[in-house]
């Protein structure tokens, strides 16, 4: 089972987003773009450093570019990548409440009143707070006297 991190990576690391190409790009365009981006990255050009994804811009590296090109060389894997890239890299706008129309119970309920911060300490609970030792003026190590 994929965890949310995997799911986000799958969306953000889509080879087409990494290479900045549309899903119907030809194979030779894929190779040419990959070489161009690797060259730009090696020269440290700022415009090649990031790429757009639905989850916001991500840093582009030569490893990611090579991995993306490798995926797109395999027709089967490319087909799956094309499906996930169908929407394009435009960022998803609107929060989950917007998606749901704000109908969730949690979203609809009035917010709970704020808590009484530090209540346990005020009630005499919690760990005993030991006084902190002062560091020597010429010593950065706290607690050493």
């Amino acid at each position: 089972m994929s965890d949310p991190h995997d799911a986000a990576e799958r969306v953000a690391d889509n080879p087409f987003f990494v290479l900045g190409l549309p899903p119907d790009a030809a194979a030779r365009d894929v190779e040419r773009e990959a070489q161009k981006l690797i060259g730009m990255l090696e020269l440290g050009l700022a415009e090649a450093m990031t790429y757009a994804t639905p989850l916001g811009p991500r840093p582009r590296t030569t490893e990611r570019v090579r991995a993306a090109a490798a995926v797109l060389r395999d027709p089967r894997r490319r087909l799956v990548a094309e499906l996930w890239a169908a929407r394009g890299p435009a960022a998803v706008t609107g929060g989950p409440a917007a998606v749901t129309g704000g109908s969730d119970a949690g979203a609809a309920a009035s917010p709970s009143p704020a808590g009484w911060v530090g209540a346990l300490a005020i009630g005499g609970w919690g760990p005993r707070r030991h006084p902190r030792l002062q560091p020597r003026p010429d010593d950065d190590r706290e607690g050493h006297t």
Partner: protein
């Protein structure tokens, strides 16, 4: 004259003790009245004691004055000394001695002295040198007071989740331990207040019916109280109904009673105390300077206008290009912050996209264009579907969302729910197998660690049952019944840990009733009737 003085003294002492005990039976005006009576008794006792000392000192009798001071502190004022002197100063040995005396003279339950000593020990900063002494005063068997004492020590180590789990677990133990439950209720109320969980405070203190004089000290009443609690949340109990859930489990202290009033007023409940009631609760609670602003907030809560409804976020921009781009957009948004509604919307969008005939034809044509194998298109769609199901299932589990019931449906949501349910069951089975293996090998832990281990299993089971619903619980219960019954039998028969074994059995009985397992109901029902022996 001396006889008269002695009789009045005994009367005051009896009255104070009765008043402090009687207030545990109430969450009404009687709580305030009994607290006031007890406080007046304390003041009279203090004035009397000081007068005697002043008289002796005036006569120049310093030695008798010093002896009288010690005797009065030990006999008349010991609880005041314990609460206001020895515990705050961290004098754990003195606290234990005085509390033992209190137990002997006041017929208090066994274990109360260890709880008081634990509080002093926590105040002393849990010095390592005190460990041998602490071990030496431990009882042979674990009971409710010891569980509370370990919760106090956990709190002293800043282990709040650990302390909370142990304090809450007192609800599973039948041993009459009003001091421990009172202390637990105060700690839980403070922790909830800190986190803004005002509703939890109200729920815990919802029972207002008088359970009967001294009921919190009777096992049978606690048993009945627990059964009432098990059959439904205390919050659902109507005011004045026969239900007394929570009353014996969580008697109130002055601070708890005040916080319950604050919670009621902040939440705008109809049964919240009046302004006068709030003032009285505040006056009877300790730490009035620190709680002053909370009182002001509670008093103002009755006059504030309800907050304006939050503006709804702007709707997500429509995605052109057909069902697949829309499904991906909704999916991505739902995974960012999953809710039941957003995931339902995402899975509905996926169902529409994956069954769209025109789109599937386009995929097949695209596969041919790319020079892929003939079955590549269907494989790609299957892989996409599997990834979506996995994403949604994981999002449901990570967000702790209740899983939709298994309705034998074929959509993405049903498949994801089935996947999540299987994952929940697998995790639970693993936990139960680990416990079962340890019990089978007879590898003992310290009693408090056995109890913590049980609480962890119970928490995992409860969470799985909450998410998966009764269907999942029916699948999980037989395994839990097998492994945990062996554990309870081992704890009772071989190790003599009756209190915690009984707590486990009671919980198993409750779950057997919930899933309707007749065999387990009969077994645990019989076992739950066994009386745990005292330490």
């Amino acid at each position: 004259m001396a006889r008269l003085v002695g009789q009045v003294w005994l009367l005051i002492a009896f009255g104070r003790r009765h008043a402090w005990r009687a207030r545990r039976d109430h969450r009404t005006g009687a709580f305030l009245a009994y607290t006031a009576v007890a406080a007046v008794g304390d003041v009279v006792a203090l004035v009397w004691s000081l007068s005697l000392l002043w008289f002796l000192i005036g006569l120049g009798e310093w030695l008798p004055a010093m002896i009288a001071t010690g005797l009065l502190a030990a006999l008349m004022m010991r609880r005041v000394v314990i609460e206001h002197v020895t515990i705050p100063l961290g004098l754990f040995r003195v606290t234990h001695t005085l509390a033992e005396l209190d137990r002997a003279l006041g017929r208090e339950p066994l274990g109360a002295a260890r709880l008081a000593a634990a509080r002093a020990l926590a105040k002393a900063g849990l010095p390592a040198t005190a460990l041998p002494w602490w071990q030496s005063v431990q009882a042979a068997r674990l009971g409710a007071f010891d569980v509370a004492a370990h919760a106090v020590l956990a709190d002293g180590k800043d282990d709040r989740p650990g302390a909370r789990a142990l304090f809450e677990s007192l609800a599973l133990l039948r041993e009459p331990a009003p001091q421990a439950r009172e202390l637990a209720a105060e700690w839980l109320a403070l922790d909830d207040a800190d986190a803004g969980r005002w509703q939890a405070i109200v729920d815990r203190g919802a029972a207002v019916a008088r359970p009967g004089r001294g009921a919190h000290r009777r096992r049978a009443a606690i048993e009945a109280d627990h059964t009432t609690n098990a059959n439904g949340p205390a919050a659902a109990s109507p005011r004045g109904a026969a239900a007394t859930a929570g009353e014996m489990l969580w008697p109130a202290t002055g601070l708890t009673f005040f916080l319950e009033g604050v919670a009621g007023r902040l939440l705008g409940r109809p049964d919240a105390p009046s302004q006068l009631g709030m003032w009285l609760r505040w006056l009877e609670a300790p730490r009035r300077r620190a709680t002053w602003w909370l009182l002001q907030r509670a008093l103002a809560a009755g006059t504030v206008t309800p907050p304006a409804p939050r503006p709804r976020p702007a709707p997500m921009a429509a995605d052109g290009g057909g069902p697949l781009p829309h499904a991906i957009a909704v999916h991505t948004a739902a995974l960012a912050t999953p809710t039941a509604a957003s995931l339902t919307m995402a899975t509905t969008a996926w169902d529409a996209a994956l069954t769209d005939a025109g789109w599937r034809t386009a995929i097949a044509l695209r596969a041919i264009t790319l020079g892929a194998r003939a079955d590549a298109a269907s494989h790609a769609v299957d892989e996409l579907r599997a990834q979506v199901i996995s994403d949604v299932a994981h999002a449901m589990l990570a967000a702790g969302l209740p899983l939709p019931p298994d309705a034998r449906e074929t959509g993405i949501l049903a498949a994801a729910a089935a996947r999540a349910r299987a994952e929940l069951l697998a995790r639970l089975e693993l936990t139960l197998e680990r416990i079962g293996g340890r019990v089978h090998e007879r590898t003992p832990l310290a009693p408090i660690d056995e109890w913590r281990s049980f609480l962890a299993v119970r928490a995992a089971y409860t969470e799985a049952a909450r998410q998966g619903g009764v269907e999942l619980e029916r699948l999980a219960f037989p395994h839990a019944h097998t492994e945990l019954t062996a554990w309870t039998v081992w704890m009772w028969n071989d190790r003599g840990e009756h209190a915690i074994s009984h707590g486990m059995t009671s919980w198993l009985y409750e779950r057997a009733l919930a899933v309707g397992d007749a065999q387990a109901i009969e077994l645990h029902g019989k076992n739950a009737q066994l009386e745990p022996s005292a330490e």
